[in-house]
Symmetry: C2
Subunit: 668 residues, 2 copies
Amino acid sequence: MSKRTADTLRLLAADMVEKAQSGHPGLPMGMADCAAVLWTKFLRLNPADPDWPGRDRFVMSGGHGSALLYGLLHLAGYGITLDDLKAFRQWGSVTPGHPEREIPGVETTTGPLGQGLANAVGMAMAAGMAAARWNDETFSLFGDHYIYCFCGDGDLMEGVSHEASSLAGHLGLDRLICFYDNNGITIDGKTDLTFSENVAMRYRAYGWQVLEIDGHDQEQIERAILEAQKEKGKPSLIVARTHIAFGSPNRQDTPEAHGSPLGGEELRLTKEKLGFPPDRSFYIPEEAKKEFAGHAGKVKPEYDAWQLRYREWQEKHPEAYRAYVGQVSKIFPEDLREHLLSGLKNKDNSTRAHSGNILQTLEKNIPGLVGGSADLAGSNKTTLKQGGDLSRGNFKGRNIHFGIREFAMGAILNGISLYGCGFIPFGGTFLVFSDYMRSAIRMAALMKVQVIYVFTHDSIFVGEDGPTHQPVEQLMSLRLIPGLTVLRPADERETMESWITALENREGPTAIVLTRQTCPEQLRERPDGIQHFKRGAYIVKDTSGTPDMILAGSGSELSLCAEAAGMLASEGCAARVVSVPSYETFLQQDEAYRESLFPTGNIPVFIVEAGRTLGWREITGNPGRVIGMDRFGSSAPGEELAEKFGFTAKAVYHSIKAWLDKAERKLV
Amino acid sequence: MSKRTADTLRLLAADMVEKAQSGHPGLPMGMADCAAVLWTKFLRLNPADPDWPGRDRFVMSGGHGSALLYGLLHLAGYGITLDDLKAFRQWGSVTPGHPEREIPGVETTTGPLGQGLANAVGMAMAAGMAAARWNDETFSLFGDHYIYCFCGDGDLMEGVSHEASSLAGHLGLDRLICFYDNNGITIDGKTDLTFSENVAMRYRAYGWQVLEIDGHDQEQIERAILEAQKEKGKPSLIVARTHIAFGSPNRQDTPEAHGSPLGGEELRLTKEKLGFPPDRSFYIPEEAKKEFAGHAGKVKPEYDAWQLRYREWQEKHPEAYRAYVGQVSKIFPEDLREHLLSGLKNKDNSTRAHSGNILQTLEKNIPGLVGGSADLAGSNKTTLKQGGDLSRGNFKGRNIHFGIREFAMGAILNGISLYGCGFIPFGGTFLVFSDYMRSAIRMAALMKVQVIYVFTHDSIFVGEDGPTHQPVEQLMSLRLIPGLTVLRPADERETMESWITALENREGPTAIVLTRQTCPEQLRERPDGIQHFKRGAYIVKDTSGTPDMILAGSGSELSLCAEAAGMLASEGCAARVVSVPSYETFLQQDEAYRESLFPTGNIPVFIVEAGRTLGWREITGNPGRVIGMDRFGSSAPGEELAEKFGFTAKAVYHSIKAWLDKAERKLV
């Protein structure tokens, strides 16, 4: 068995943490047996081809166990060197504090608890979708592998684990095999301080197979994995009773072992106890190397066979192959834009309705596009009408019903995107509930994965549902997440451009923010303007000479700017109107472009957006005013709220006039 | 039985939604039987004294069922008139789309799913704490009542329900009785689209008593409530099989009934079917009125008896009574500030360590202060060292172990605060994980409840844990939540002032944002400056004449400003140094105060804060620069990150010099 290998992994992790004087030895030492068995007897990987679609996926949901993962990657031959292990948690190393998905062999970035498990659920869904799309009676190249996930008490206490696991059970994701590192210890002490639920029973209630084992008995571990693999129609949870910091004479089973180095003396004692040379660090016995090499030697022929079958498939099913390659490349039909343009209805409607319409064209043209909503498909207009529902029996379905589980939806979208195979996942909910999934959005941005959020009901104009459902701060607050593109289109054409931008943004997530209520179509007096949509802002209506003022807005408030400009024009006041569909994109443009819209100087700028005003001064500069919502909304019909909160063209006009009068007085 | 009363509630709700042409009839019609039994046979309330401490609490977790609650409040005599019911969801009404806690009889604002249930858990915890504090062998005035909660599929799908329910089971909160409205329908269709878990089994796994009944059989409902009340040591879940929109001939059991008016004709048919005059709206039969009045008549003597006992208690236990009144009033000892000042250590340390020290003084002086951390008590320094642990057997304990459940923690804190009795709850986690609980923070702000968040590890200086654990956008993004006070102290004295501010802020939540790493104590050259702490910003170090520039920062970056100012001074450049512990508070100050710190004109302002720069231009105005973090961080020791990302005094100094050089060139 792999006892020696497990101890090697234990001590590598302990050495890494000791050298860095920072990190978490407890989890790696506790889970080393499970890891050793899994990685030397089961896991099908090829370090020479880390993106091999047929590989098993391994997710360390408790990302603080990174030292275990790096040890595994080193031993498995992933090109993480001993020096890399010694640089654990140092600047520029490939062995950062928590696993980051840029590192070959790391499938997803983890650390914020519970999300890794939900990523794994997303991967298992994607595996099912890949299998349903391209496998047939003779070829089973895709999705024919397992998603393994290690999770701990923290993962299972977090609500997102509930959401994702409930859905995984519902869908019967039998390719998903999770280990629960049941060590009875959290940072603050024994888990019985806070956690006495019956996890096994809870998972059975979700419809999972649950296996309970001694997490240090390698035979039990092996049998449990075999049993999990055999189970059809259910994901499996292997509850492994473990000891945190197993092997450390004085730290085992203590909370201190969770996040502190063992200390030089204790590390020595541990090595002694485990029969390792007590004074050697980063020592790897030959047995461990051999065991990993032996397993790799067994997997290699499987890998070669897969490649052979893949080439056979390519020959025998050229059409399926083309479809596959087309999806993986994420290259869209050249005439997609024309298709979309010709599908536009050119009439006033809510931007969510426009989006729903545009989605139907995208459905036909982008086979990798899959997604759904957290139980608001009808409101979010996210249904792909010809796509069918993804369900236990039908993984061809392209409409995913996430249930009322926003956070899991976010993390599952990440998992689907990370899986590869060209899936472009989208997920919808009300903008105000982006708060429920905010950490998953952040993770998408940090990982630079392509995910699209459809956030509808984007302002107080939600109306009667009242302040609990009316976003105010969410819009600007999403713009704060580095690497997230936020688009708030004003009309049908901008909604179309938003979708194109999102689809072309392969290196990060995009949020498309849409109205519940009808928005008038914009007259674009400068028809070339829309070509600058991608720059985040562009001129919708300009003045012949230098403008007296500039009115700018996003989404439903753009029309107020245009209307107010009309009123001002009738008084001889020439206003430029600028659409700002993407605030943060615009701020990243070169100075020349920014100046061409909002010249530095004394032309006052007025912004209208039904959200927090904070941040807009970046654009207005000093002279100017932002008409926004700096308080919570209220329950009443939308039109009435518009009156009460000053979001009518008339109110905007008066507000501008009042400002000008005051400014003039000041100048005198 | 209360069949007629239940039907009255059904039709009142349907009429309200019909009149508003907006709202949710399905839930009220489905849960009307449970509501009628609970409100006419069990619930102990006194509308004349809505804040009666001995009352039962009723939480409608699915806030979209507001029409049911308003009907109940009307019938129970809470001063919601028929005209109010007719103004459902209209501007200025006391019957908004979702229940808002300002309305007498509404215990908590609900709508965002799952949180009401977690609020109820918080209330049950507070009830236990009140009982443990003031009850004895002879008097049982406090916490001797039940917390009832209605929840639906949505609540139970949301992760926060898992977190809160697991903790409720762990603590054995037997005063908590929840109804699960098991109607098999969600907005998008039947629940079997997404939700096939065994809820009863799941709750048994949490350690709850689970009772399964027909939710339209009033005898079963009554028996279940009695059984739930009898259970000692476990919360109860009553799984009520119901029909959404029960009574509507064509809408019952359909997803459409969830959120759309029945329509005039269907409403007529429903009234007919239920034996009500089909053409009358808002009709209340005498039987229903009588039933409510009859129940109120039974509760009144209990209320009077409680008041009598309360006065007896007051006489016989004057000390306990004083303690009680002292806690409820939230009036702190007059010498609290002196106590705190005398407890200061006056030496460099992390602000989290200062906070931990200050908490010990607060513990002694503010008995209502209770709280803890989401399994990071040691890191957040949130432990009240003499307070004892709150646990199943000990509700006197003041340290709450929330487990790794940030979102539930947030919603539970709201519940504890809403419960009354002067509890001031606080909860800690890492700043980056404020994302997990963001919606609960928003709800605290919307409800204007006093809750204190202790967010430590507040920047990239978290160090080795890397970007998943390093907040970047969280600080500014919390400042965007209307009504939330965000404080980021720079040293020990500011940490003390932050706690005082938070304790005095009774009308809303406060986030105290603290460092992991050591911050030098600030030399306050203007010792009066700190008196302006509450204004959000104040001068730490001034120049004799007009300053050449102003350097401002918050938290750990204030010291960089001070040091850089010193370097600049040695070159004859006079810089004012301003501390900005609360950005949004400062922006709310009058113009005169703002001008006294940052005068309009040409004095350049430099801001240093290790977070997103967006928003700071509100303060810098046009000339100036913000030195911040507009990207994700990296895993390495904190000092190294400071070097790499330009957060050393030297780097700040050079950055300012470079800006000045460039600006000068521009002026030429």
